[in-house]
Amino acid sequence: MKKNRIKYFTIILIMMFLTLALRLAFLQLINGDYYSQQAEAVFSRVYSEKPQRGEILTTEGIKLATNIQSFNIIYTDNRKVVPEKDIPKVLLKVIRVLKNETPDYEKLILDTLPIKIDNNKVEFDFDVYVSEEDLNLNDNISQEEKLKKIEEKRQKILKAKEERFKKDYNLPLDLDANQTLYELFVKYKIANKNVDRYIFVENMSLQEAKDVLSLRLLIEKNRFYKYKPVEIAKNVSRKTAFYIAMKSEELPNVSFNEEPLRYYPNGDFASHILGYLSRAGEDTAEQYKSLGYDINNEWIGAIGLEAKFENITKNEYGASLRGEPKEKYITVDKFGNQLKLIGEVEGIPGDTIVTTISYNLQKVAEESLERLFKNLQEGKVDGTRRPNANRGAVVVANVKTGEILALVSKPSFDPNLFAEFGTIKDEETRLRIFTPEKFLTETQKYYNEVLKLDIVPKPLYNYATKSLVPPGSTFKLLTSIAALEEGIITPNTIIVDKGMYRELPGFKGNCWIWNEKHTTHGPVNVAKALQVSCNYFYYAVAQKMGWDKFDKWVKKYNLIRNGNNSATGIEIGENFGQASSVEKRKALFIRKYLKNIMEKLKIKEDDKLLSDIKEMFLNENLDDTRLAGLSENQKKYINSAYNQFIAEAKRLSDLLSASIGQGENQFTPLQLAQFYMTVVNGGNRYKLHLVKEILNPDGSLKYKVEPEVLDKVEIKPETYNAVMQGLQKVNEEGSAASVFRNYPIPTGGKTGTVQIFNDFSSEIAKRASADGVVANGVYVGVAPINDPQIVVVVLVYNAGHGYSCASVVKDIYDEYFGLNKMQPNSETSNSQISTTH
C-alpha cells in the first residue's frame, strides 16, 4: 500500500466539493438574475376569458350575428376541497340537480365520451363528417368514385378517432366499447371492480354513470390547467345558475359564470353567408392553441364570414371577429393550481362586419325561393309535381360595384344550433344537418345510391358559391359574344333553323323546338337566337368558330382557371367551375389514354416514361426521340394513341354541345352572376364582395371595401347592343315573357334548362322524369336592361324548366325597385305559365 494514495484521494474529494461550490456560485450568484427571470416566466400562465365576438350587420345595420349574456355551470378542480375520489359524487349531485330541480339537463356537456348506449348495446359514437371539399378531389371524377372515396375516408377517420381516444386514456387498443366504458368507470372511481363485477361507488343508473364519466373526462382534460374552471353546462337558465350558487355547501367546487354567447336573431336567415361556430378540429387544434385560443371553451368560425373573419390571420383586412380575450397572468404550481395573480389585461371586443347584404332583398329572395320550392313540389307552377325541387340558390349583385346584395342557399340551417356547444347537441338534428343522405325517401335513395345522382339537399352546402351545374342556355350569351367578336357572324347574320342540325358528320343535335313541337325557328339573327334560345343557330356558329376562339373567350371572362385566379373573388368559400375547353378536356381524357398505354407497354404508374408521355400529350408535342428504347410497334401505338387523344380533345361535335351550355361546362351561380355582370356593365369584371366595411369595437371605421375591377373585357358596341337586345327580348317575347311582359321596368334575362340525362327517350330518363328527377332550372336576370343596376341568378335543382325561376327574380325586382306595394299578392307570380323555354 502506498502512503501517497490517501493524499491523492483527499485531493480528489476536495476538488469535487470545490467544483460543486464553484458551480453553485456561478448559478446562484452570477447567473441568479437570469435564472430568476426565467423562473418567473416558466411558472406564469395566462388565463383568458372569452371576448365579446364582433357583430355581423346587414348594409342597413340590422344585426345578423350578435351576442347574448349566458350562464354556465363551472367546476373548479380544487383537489384540496374535493379529492379525486370524491369528484364523481359531486358530479352526480350536479347532474341530479339539473335533472330534477331545474330542468336544464340537456345543457350539460356530455359529448366528451364518444360512447352511446342503445337498448343496452354499448357502441362507440364518433361524429365524422367528410365533405367533398375535404378530399380535394379532382374536378373530373365520377359521382360514384366520389362517394366511395368519401366513405373510405370516413371509415379511416372513425378508426383513427377510436384509437386516439383509447391512447389518450391509456387504454389497451383492443378493448370494445363496453370494456372501454367500464375501464373508464374504474379508472375515474365511478365504479369499483370486484372480481368480475363492477359496482358503482354510489347508487346510480348506468345512464347517470355515463353522464358522470362524461363530465369527469372534461375535468380530466383540464388536469394541467386546474387554475381554469371547467364548463360543465352551458347556457343554463338564470334560475339554475342561482340555484347552484345557493347550494354551494352541498356542491363544493361548483359555481356559475357569465359569458357572452353567439346569437343569430334571425335564425337560419342568411346562414350560408354567416356560417357557424364550431369546435376546433383535431387537425387544427394546435394551430388555434398557439394563437391563444382556449379550444375547450372557445368555438371557431367554421364557414362563411364567421370563418373568414375569425381572426386577423384569416383575412387580408386585418379584421377579427374574435377580438382579444381578457387575460389574467397568474403563477401556478406544478399541478396547475393558481398561486397568485400577477396582473390583468382587459379584453378587446371583436370587430364589427358590415355586409353588403340588403336585409329586405335577402328576405324576399329567401322567402320567394322557398315559396317556389313549395309551388313546384305541389305542381302549382306548370301542373306537374316536382317533388325534388328542394335545393337552390339566389344571387343578387350590384353590377356597378360587385357588391352582393343577397346570397341565398337552400336548404339552410340555424347557426344558433352550434353556438352553445360548438356542435349540434341533439342527435337527430345533427344527423339531419351533417348526413342528409340518410333522410332521403326510398325513391330518392335509388337515384342517390344506385344511379349516383346528386339529389341530396345538403343544409351546410352553399349552393350559391359551391354547386357546379351546367349553365344551360344561359351560356349562349358567351357563345354569342365570342362569335360576334371573332367576326364569325355580325349582328345581322341570318341562319335558317332547319330543326335537325346535320352539317357536321357524326353530330346529331336538334333544336329544342324540333324535339318538342317538330317545327323550327326559321331565319334567326343573334338577338333572335338568344330570344328563342335557338340551338341550331349556335351549332352552326360553333362549327364555324372552332375550339381556339371559343377557348379564348371563356378565358377572357375567367370561366376557366388561369394561373392562380380565384373564381369571383368573394370572401367566403367558393368553387371554381370550369368551362368546356380543350385544356379541360385534355385533363379529362388523358387518364383513359395513360391507362391504356400502361397496359400496352407494361409500365408502372411512377415510370418516368409515363410522365414524359403525359407531358408530351398535354403539350401537343410528341417527340419520338423521347421514346427511345421502345420497340417500333410500341412507338406506333403511342403515335396512334396521341392522334386519337388530340382528335378527341378537339372533337368539334363536343364544341357544338358546349356552345349551348351543355357538355363539360359547369359553373357556380356566383360565377354565372359575375359573367353576366361583366357583360352588361360594359366589360368590368368586378371582384364580388360581401363585406362593405369593417368597424372597430368603438364604432370607428377600420376598413372600407372599395369596388375592385379584376379584369376588363372589351367588346364592340355592336356586340353589346345585339346581345342586350337579345336578353331584353327573352323577357318581352321569349321564354320569360309570361313573367316579365309589361313589367314597369325594362328588364332582360336568359333562362336555362339543364337536362340530367343526355338521352331523353331512355327508360331511365322516363322513369326519372316520372319520379321528379328532372332538369335543373336556371334564370339570369338583368335590370333595368337599358341601364343595368343588378344581376340576379336563380338556380333550382330538379325544377323541370328554367323559366320557373323567373318568378323569384320578379319578386326581387319588386323589392329592389320598390314595386312590391303595387302588387301585394306575389303568390300569383308563381302560377301557371304557358310559354316554355
Partner: protein, 375 residues
C-alpha cells in the same frame, strides 16, 4: 447487552456525529417544505423520515458497540444475505420508475440495493486486508468475482445508478490499496469504447438514454425528461446568496419554485434544489461544509485505523457518501446526468438513511477502536 467501555468514547468523533445529525434535521425540514406540508397538512413523509432517523440512531448505537472486526468476520454471511435480498426483489419486488428495486409488505419495505453497497465495502475491505500486493491477477480476479455477482443482479432490476456507485466504491478502495494506475487507465479506455456499443445494443434502457441526452442539454426538453433538471437548476439559481424568501415565507410554503410545487420528487432525488432555493448560496455552502467535515475527518480516521480492514472500510464509506453527494448535487446543477441516487442524510427514503447512518457508525467504530484496548 454488550457493555460499552466508556473509554471508547475518547475517540468518538462528536463533530462527525453532530454534522450528520444536523444534516438529517435539515433534510427533514426540507422534506416538509418539499411536500408543502404546512399548507396541505400532509406531514406523512416528514414524520416517517423522523421515525426512520430514530430507528437508524438505534441501529447506530448497536453498530458502534460491536467491534468492527467482529462485524467484518461475518462478511460472507452479510454478502450472501444481501445478494439473496436482491434476488428476492427481482422475484417479488415492485417496480418504481422503471426499475424493480422495492421490496416490502404494505408500507414497510426498502431498497436492498442500498445495503449491497455497504456489504460490498465490508467484504472487499476484508478480502484486501490480507493482501500485500493488490496488482496480482489472482487478487483482482477474486475482487472482480466478488463484486460482479451483486452488480449483475442489480443490473437486472435495472439500477444503473447503484452500480455506478458500487463501481466508484471499488475503484476508491483499490486506489487506496495501491492499484497500479494502468488498471485505471485501461478500463477507462475500454469504457470509452464500450459505452457507444452499449448505447446501440440497448443494454442501456431507453429512459436512461433519454436522461443522458437530456443531461447534455436540459433546456431542449423543459417539459419532458429535462423538466426535472431544468426546474432544479432554476430553483437553485433563484435562491441567490441569501435566502430569497423570508423565513416566514418558507414556513408558509410561499417560495416560488420549490415547496414541491414544481419539481416532481422534490423530497427525494431533487431535495437539494428545494434546500438551495430556500437557503440560498449561503445555506448551500454551509451544507457542503458539513458534508466535507464528515468526509475529511473520516479520511483522517482511516489513517489511524488499527488495521487495514478498518482503513479500507472507512475509505469505502467515504467514497460511497462523497460520490453520492457529488452525483446528486451535480445532477441538480447540471454537472452530472440525472439518476435516482439520493442525497445522503437529506433525501426522503428509509433504506438510504439507515444505510448511511450505519455507515457513519462503522467509521466512528473504527475511530473508537484505533488503539489496542486493554480491558
Amino acid at each position: 447487552m454488550i457493555k460499552i467501555n466508556k473509554k471508547l468514547f475518547r475517540y468518538f468523533d462528536w463533530s462527525i456525529f453532530f454534522s450528520m445529525i444536523a444534516i438529517c434535521i435539515l433534510g427533514i425540514t426540507t422534506i416538509m417544505f418539499a411536500n408543502n406540508a404546512l399548507e396541505t397538512g400532509n406531514f406523512r413523509n416528514t414524520i416517517a423520515q423522523f421515525i426512520i432517523l430514530l430507528v437508524a440512531l438505534v441501529a447506530f448505537v448497536f453498530v458502534i458497540t460491536i467491534d468492527y472486526t467482529t462485524i467484518g468476520s461475518y462478511y460472507k454471511i452479510i454478502y450472501v444475505v444481501t445478494n439473496l435480498l436482491i434476488i428476492a426483489v427481482l422475484l417479488f419486488g415492485r417496480e418504481v420508475n422503471g426499475a424493480k428495486a422495492w421490496l416490502g409488505i404494505g408500507p414497510f419495505g426498502g431498497q436492498p440495493s442500498e445495503f449491497v453497497k455497504l456489504s460490498i465495502i465490508i467484504g472487499l475491505s476484508k478480502i484486501l486486508e490480507d493482501v500485500d500486493e493488490v496488482n496480482k491477477f489472482e487478487v483482482l480476479k477474486r475482487v472482480a468475482i466478488f463484486v460482479l455477482i451483486p452488480m449483475g443482479l442489480i443490473q437486472l432490476q435495472p439500477d444503473l445508478g447503484t452500480n455506478m456507485i458500487i463501481a466508484v466504491i471499488v475503484l476508491g478502495i483499490l486506489f487506496v490499496a495501491g492499484l497500479d494506475m494502468k488498471f485505471i487507465y485501461i478500463p477507462v479506455t475500454i469504457l470509452a469504447i464500450l459505452i457507444p456499443i452499449a448505447w446501440n445494443l440497448n443494454i442501456i434502457k431507453t429512459y436512461q438514454k433519454h436522461r443522458i441526452l437530456v443531461f447534455l442539454n436540459p433546456e431542449l426538453d423543459r417539459l419532458g425528461a429535462g423538466y426535472n433538471a431544468s426546474m432544479a437548476k432554476l430553483a437553485i439559481a433563484s435562491g441567490r446568496f441569501f435566502p430569497k424568501s423570508s423565513f416566514a415565507d418558507i414556513i408558509q410554503g410561499n417560495t416560488q419554485l420549490s415547496s414541491g410545487k414544481f419539481i416532481p420528487e422534490a423530497h427525494t432525488d431533487f431535495i437539494f434544489a428545494v434546500f438551495a432555493e430556500n437557503w440560498g448560496f449561503l445555506g448551500s455552502i454551509i451544507l457542503l461544509i458539513l458534508y466535507l467535515n464528515i468526509l475529511y475527518k473520516s479520511i483522517k480516521i482511516s489513517k489511524v485505523a488499527k488495521d487495514k480492514f478498518g482503513q479500507y472500510l472507512v475509505i469505502g464509506i467515504v467514497t460511497m457518501i462523497g460520490f453520492q453527494i457529488f452525483q446528486n448535487i451535480g445532477m441538480d446543477i447540471g454537472l452530472m446526468p440525472i439518476t435516482g441516487i439520493p442525497l445522503p442524510f437529506m433525501s426522503y427514503g428509509g433504506t438510504s438513511l439507515l444505510t448511511n447512518v450505519i455507515a457513519i457508525g462503522l467509521i466512528l467504530n473504527v475511530s473508537m477502536r484505533r488503539k489496542k484496548i486493554n480491558f
